[in-house]
Amino acid sequence: MSRRITLALRLLLGAVFVYAAYTKLRQSWLLFALSIDSYQLLPEWAVFAVARTLPALELALGVLLVAGVWLRHLAILAAAILALFFSVMIVSYFRGAGIDCGCFGVGEPLSAKTLARDGALLMAALALVALTKRLRASGLGLPA
């Protein structure tokens, strides 16, 4: 059972990361830079650095999660990235910033709905971390 849930979670998270990367890579990276800048949390150089690198990181993470390699480490990385996104969104939402989420390209306002979705994804990533740890401890191995 744990193996099936692990498989479902890694495929779900992998697909979400690949889709998030696709929506950003198909448009100008500067449009994504504008979304990041609207959060008003990073200096200009960091905005450009994140806009340039994050889509590639999301793509690599998504592909590797779907492939099922280095699963334990990648599950931790996915959870860490989603936790970071979630905290940044929570802070901006409660600060009253009327901005775009920037999660899947442009045009999606940061709302309670986006927070619920990202919160659920974070929970899924944390569950994947826990399951991979348990499977490893039980010596059952991870599903390919």
């Binding site: 100008s28 500067l30 449009l31 830079a33 800048d37 008003q40 450009f48 009327g98 442009v106 306002p109």
Partner: protein, 197 residues
Amino acid sequence: MQLFAFALVLAALIVSAPSAQTKSTRATGPVTAAVRIDVFSDFQCPACKSLHEQTIKRVKEEFAMKGKVRLVHHDFPLPQHKHARHAAILAAAADRLGKYDEVADALFRQQESWIQSGNVDAVVDSVLTPEERKKLREIAKDPAIVAGIERDVQLGQRMKVSQTPTMIVTHDGKPNPVVGVVGYGVFSKYLNSIVGP
């Protein structure tokens, strides 16, 4: 179908834009510019103040006035902002006197004070001569002023504007919404990438 809808919105944008004959300064830059920026803003919203002061003024100077982009201001007073509509009416009236920029700058600069006192008129008056003040009061009574603001709001709703400030950057027939406050550095780099040399 999507293309048809976009053509309709674009036609509405062109019709709703203040014409050059009225000497309006709510729209700057050539109508034929390859890039068009429609700014939907509310005088009472603090984020709109930041965007106006940090970014829009410089975009106007560096891009619109140099003919690289067409920059158009649209009023989008939010219902929860008690004095926003009155401020928009006075600014639109000031536009007919050729004083839009002065009034808009003053409204944003002194935003905190008139939000608290509700005395929008005093802020507007501070940048006008006594004669202009008198004319402005007359113009503000014109139903066309309120109708113009209503048209802006309806246009924003058609363009799926839900919060302020929102800029719709249209290039190659494709509208891209930019929501919230973005700094001039990042925005100008984006504009340079689509405006070309």
